[in-house]
Amino acid sequence: MITVTQSADADKLITAEELEKKIRMAAEGIKKQPGLMKSSAGYMELVHKYVDRIVTAKEKGKWVATHGTQQPLEIYEAMDVVGIFIEFWGVISDAVKLESVPEALSISTSTGTPGEVCSFFRNLDGLMHVGKWPRTDFMLYATSSCDNVKAYHTLGRRYGIPSFGLERPYLPYTPKAMEHWKNEHKRLIAFLEEQTGKKLDYDRLKETVRLSYRLTELVLEIDKLVAHVPSPMSAECFGGPLMAMRLLPGTQDAVDYLTALRDELQERVDNGIAAVKNERFRVMWSSFAPFWDPGLLPFMQQKYGAVSVCEVLARWRGEANWMLDPEDPLGNLAYKTQNSPGNCQYSSSIDWAGQLVEQAHQYKADGAIFNNNWGCKQAAGLGVLCRDELMRHCSVPSLTLNCDVIDSTFTTRAEVEAQLDGFFEMIEASKAYKDRRNPK
């Protein structure tokens, strides 16, 4: 183990225990706040459960895996492995203790990790360096999001944590590619069995896969409701489906939450209740939501009547019927992890832009915002092409916000607001917008 750097301002850094406590309090507090969707409380409770599982894993005899995107979490769930999704950790740290991420990033820089590397990973790097990352038994990752995935092995080596990566084909839908990918899932199971000394119970896996599929169905139902004009989904619940489906698949808690959210949205549609009284703009996020500024979505709703209707990383493509054979949970999972939201990151930019076009149509978007995360090289070569495709196919203009995905000090709210002012003015004056609002 590396010795803990003494110069770090430890008070600024968030710990798992502190996070758990603060979210528990927030979950209580939100129940008393007027004017919010009922499901906002359920959302906070779900977030709390996620963190609590990490904090209490050891006492419950569970293992903890720090992991990246596109992981078959249903396997973890069936093997008593609790996941810490590193991106979530950065996002929730911002929501609870804004000074933690910048401090962790500066620690990371002090180790020589370049500042241009994605902050999700630099946050992990910095917190691990000073021993503030939650206790981790192994690191799990996949070829999916980006080059930073290499960090799992690198940091694992540095801190003596075993790691395993699932290697994903680039063109996934040939029989050979699918067979390879399914086999990678088997290798992951073998790795976990070796690490935990426990055999996977396939009946349990079938059950987690079944629950996960139920989540997919619920998300698709929710998507249809969110697409309603005016949209019933208010900013405080926008991240709910993503949280349930990408962080807690295979759990009954997530199914219960999304069921309640779906019911509430249906009720709001039936009763004509919208996110805002006067919905002026429907916004899609063409890379990711503004994680670095947790208050931005409600602010946009309030100031501009701009409702966020979709985020590319949180939406299934098409019908998403990945349950090919209930008796073959691994085959289903392999298919699912190729298809699931967020995987477009690993495909071609043209494919990504194609998804945005579909979503712009489906959600009747008026404008798209592309958060160009300074450290994300996936995004850096992608934004312009997405902008051009959206304009070409559906006359939806784009705004690029240069930002850091979780470093709140990178850009100020005032800078963002100035850009949003101009953007919404431009949309409102456009012919396409007027045509959408007053179809002939």
Partner: protein, 381 residues
């Protein structure tokens, strides 16, 4: 002052002007196609077996101003990618009939998409570059290679038989062996070529028809042996990190009392490394070579082997210090920095880190640091 190497001069003549060179024009004059390739997981052997000239997409000795490229690719993309795209926008790559890349890194994958969207070429393809080095990765890559061969066959309306691939492998193996001989000669106390000259050789290999290159390479080896050429410098350096194609970046280091005797670049020693096994079926042999046959590189998840490789090379070539040139925004190298430094410290090998813009000469600051580094090395001796 050493006499110029005639064979190298000829390589430079044939590969000039960059990129649509004398050799490219001669090749195309015969009605043959040129296919650009972007990174080390595109097997040139298959393109060559298809009767096409594989030509590596790079910048060269002139720094490229990249503002135009930023209209399509944001400036937080590495300067290698923006340089290549700028050259395309400037019409320098208009001679290409196709482009083949691999998912080696995020950014070259995005370059491929931008190229496909804004300037589609008659043949475009992208392979998976396995991150692991095991039998499963070989099988995955082999399946991709077979599909690639099928698509390319379809494109040229003619199959690419194993026999032709096998012949192509022999030609490329010969080229590797010859390049490797030059690396071996650089182990001498007084190497026969400078690092800048060696880089020109590697670049020529990726830009000339390989048979033509091989013939010149034989002459070059003969020439340097015959003339007893020796570079007399005080310190021996190794350059690691990203591929450099601006030879002046190495030449600048060599204006100091130092010579670059080895590198660990993909366009350098890795490009000269090993042999494709000619006893295996040719496609399988290629898959094995590209996944397992070369030293671990920066894109492999498990970079333990890369760090060891750098340490081993440093010992074999008796280097006094390492200059690590990292292109800004290159994620892979960023992640190896910390552990690399630790490992080299253990081996007692000093490292100088220089952040660079691809193709652009190092700034005044970097020069001062390089000078100070050489002084430190002199103090160590």
């Amino acid at each position: 002052m050493n006499t110029p190497i005639k064979a190298l001069d000829e390589m430079i003549r044939l590969t000039s002007p960059f990129p649509e060179s004398v050799a490219v024009k001669e090749w195309k004059a015969k009605g043959r196609k040129v296919i650009g390739w972007v990174n080390p997981y595109v097997p040139e052997e298959i393109l060559y077996a298809a009767g096409m000239l594989p030509f590596q997409i790079t910048g060269n000795n002139e720094p490229v101003q990249m503002q135009g490229a930023e209209a399509h690719i944001y400036s937080n993309t590495c300067s290698y990618i923006r340089t290549c795209w700028q050259l395309q926008l400037d019409g320098k790559y208009n001679f290409l009939d196709g482009l083949v890349s691999s998912s080696f890194c995020d950014q070259d994958k995005r370059l491929f998409s931008v190229w496909e969207y804004y300037k589609k070429l008659p043949y475009m393809d992208l392979l998976y570059a396995p991150r692991k080095r095991d039998e499963e990765a070989v099988a995955l890559y082999l399946a991709d290679l077979e599909d690639f061969r099928d698509r390319l066959s379809q494109h040229r309306l003619n199959s690419i038989p194993d026999r032709d691939v096998a012949n192509s492998i022999k030609v490329y193996n010969r080229g590797r062996a010859l390049m490797h001989q030059l690396y071996e000669l650089r182990k001498r106390e007084r190497p026969p070529v400078t690092g800048a000259e060696a880089l020109e050789v590697s670049k020529a290999a990726a830009r000339l028809p390989r048979e033509q290159f091989n013939a010149l390479m034989e002459q070059l080896l003969d020439e340097v042996q015959r003339t007893g050429r020796e570079i007399k410098k005080g310190k021996r350096l190794m350059v690691i990190g990203n591929d450099l194609h601006n030879t002046n970046q190495i030449a600048e280091l060599e204006t100091l009392d130092a010579v670059v005797v080895v590198d660990e670049m993909n366009c350098g020693i890795r490009y000269a490394w090993g042999q494709v096994d000619t006893t295996l079926p040719p496609m399988e042999a290629l898959a094995r070579y590209y996944v397992l046959g070369r030293p671990v590189d920066m894109h492999n998840w498990n970079s333990d082997g890369r760090l060891e490789f750098i340490g081993e090379l440093a010992t074999q070539y008796k280097v006094d210090g390492i200059v690590s040139e990292i292109v800004r925004f290159c994620t892979y190298n960023g992640w190896d920095k910390f552990d690399l430094r630790k490992q080299m410290e253990k081996r007692g090998i000093p490292i100088l880190d220089i952040d660079i813009e691809y193709g652009h000469p190092a700034g005044a600051q970097a020069k001062i640091r390089a000078e100070a580094f050489i002084e430190i090395l002199e103090g160590v001796a």
